[in-house]
């Protein structure tokens, strides 16, 4: 166990006391879980009628199609946001002032807006089909956040690296592509993947604009009277898959981060995970401990 400022490393008697507390805590947690399960049984969530639909081929296909649509929206949104993020980051790092201003304005505006407002605006006002509306909304938001990640990644490469490259007579583009970007990419990879987790989670917003994704498929099954409204079973099946997918991607981000920490090639750069926008220029992120 790591040491904290809160307490000393416990001795044998304290450890015994902690074990007792741990036991009491475990019993309390188990009691709560048992209560919830008994509530599930009492309200008849485990009756055969509610679970039978999941053995039907049609229902399974419906769920799989929903999952496929979710992943398709995620794929489009991920690729497009990375592209938009790259463009906006280049714009923000540009030496031409107007380009910099426009990119900053775009990035700050889309980071400050709720994603759902943009998705609804594109869907309702511009009368776009659900999938493009969802992808466009996600791209604008995540692209803007990624632009900030890219920019801070490039800026976090030690200044001497760029200066040395310029001193060797490299051009602006060469310095970028040969010196700064390769070092920055390694450092910001975990932050980029964490932002993709956000994009994956936000594909579920498609449910609200009737895009036929995973949650939508679940809703269709749950509201079927023939199957005795199997709402809780649907949630029990959908959530582990959804949460599992996101956890997998988060775990990948952690794994990459851990690997990079041992990688001597990324010593010169350090990128903090992306945070929601803070809007006011005076407010800077505190370094994480």
């Amino acid at each position: 166990m790591t040491t904290t400022a809160l307490y000393d490393i416990p001795g044998p008697r304290t450890r015994a006391r902690h074990r007792l507390y741990g036991l009491i805590g475990a019993v309390a947690i188990c009691a709560v879980i048992a209560w919830v399960v008994s509530l599930l049984f009492a309200t008849g969530q485990f009756t055969a009628a509610k679970w039978a639909p999941f053995t039907y081929k049609g229902i399974q296909e419906l769920l799989l199609r929903g999952l496929g649509n979710t992943l398709r929206a995620f794929g489009f949104a991920a690729v497009l946001s990375l592209a938009l993020g790259g463009v906006l980051a280049v714009g923000r790092l540009s030496v031409h002032r107007p380009v910099r201003w426009v990119s900053t304005l775009v990035v700050e505006f889309f980071r400050a807006m709720p994603v759902l407002v943009m998705i609804f605006f594109i869907y309702v006002a511009l009368k776009v089909a659900p999938l493009p509306a969802l992808v466009a909304g996600l791209t604008l938001y995540n692209g803007s956040v990624l632009a900030e990640v890219f920019r801070s990644g490039i800026n976090s490469v030690e200044r001497g690296q760029g200066e040395a490259a310029y001193a060797l007579g490299m051009l602006k583009t060469q310095v970028m592509t040969h010196v700064l970007v390769p070092q920055a990419v390694r450092a910001m990879l975990p932050a980029v993947i964490s932002q993709l987790v956000v994009a994956l989670k936000d594909t579920s917003l498609g449910f609200l604009i009737t895009y036929e994704e995973f949650l939508h498929a679940g809703k269709l099954i749950a509201s079927n009277l023939d199957y005795d409204l199997p709402f809780i079973p649907v949630v029990m099946i959908i959530s582990p898959i959804y949460i599992g997918l996101c956890m997998l991607l988060s775990w990948l981000a952690n794994w990459v981060a851990k690997r990079q920490r041992r990688n001597p090639k990324v010593e010169t750069a350090e990128v903090a995970p992306p945070e929601p926008g803070t809007l006011l220029p005076g407010m800077q992120q505190a370094p994480h401990g």
Partner: protein, 214 residues
């Protein structure tokens, strides 16, 4: 411009709904997040495990799924509450995971020597916690909490799609009344900017007042 002036009360109601949601959910998230952070730094194994599970699961749950489960799921257990309360519950629980992580990393930034010095002066655990560790941790987490609460305000838009009165939901009646949709959304966007900028300004003020450079 007409859209706003003609429907000032509708917009006002929406803005008030968003503010109420944000304030109540923030309070819930701060309280729950504090509790979970306490669990996660506790020397008791089972509590630490529970806190870790809470944070890992909620951070990887799509908020829409959580809303779906809470708003449509809890009534199946006979828990019938107003929609607004459900929304506060979902938003608060979701954000508590992020608050917990912010607080925990804040506590971890306090150097171990600070606690050791406090104990060697004979301070008890509550004194160490209240006089030494938390004041320092609080100062270092102000910006992170601020951006988490801004994210909460933006996430509250999802509640509008689950029949809670709030700003985004304003577009529906106005759309039916035949107002220009683009302007409707422009004023909704302005409303959200007002909310987020207020939170941002509040936390900038807090940071100016309490923040310390370490």
């Amino acid at each position: 411009m007409n859209v706003l002036l003609d429907n000032l009360s509708l917009y006002g109601e929406g803005l008030l709904g968003t503010v109420e949601l944000t304030v109540y959910a923030s309070l819930l998230a701060l309280a729950l997040g504090f509790l979970m952070a306490a669990f996660r730094v506790a020397p008791v194994g089972s509590l630490r495990g529970f806190g870790t599970a809470w944070v890992t699961v909620l951070r990887n749950t799509p908020l829409t799924l959580l809303f779906f489960a809470v708003v449509l799921g809890l009534p199946r257990f006979g828990v019938v509450l107003p929609f607004q309360l459900f929304a506060v519950l979902a938003l608060g629980c979701y954000t508590s995971a992020f608050i917990c992580e912010a607080l925990r990393s804040g506590i971890n930034t306090v150097p171990v020597g600070q606690g050791e010095a406090a104990r060697s002066l004979g301070m008890t655990f509550p004194q160490t916690l209240g006089e030494i560790v938390l004041p320092q941790a609080f100062r270092s987490v102000i910006p992170t909490i601020g951006s988490t609460l801004i994210a909460l305000a933006k996430n509250s838009a999802i509640a509008g799609a689950f029949s809670v009165t709030e700003l985004l939901g304003v577009y529906k009646p106005l759309n039916e009344l035949g107002y220009s949709i683009v302007w409707t959304f422009v004023w909704i966007a302005v409303g959200y900017l007002i909310v987020t900028l207020t939170i941002s300004a509040l936390f900038t003020l807090l940071e100016k007042r309490f923040g310390v450079a370490r």
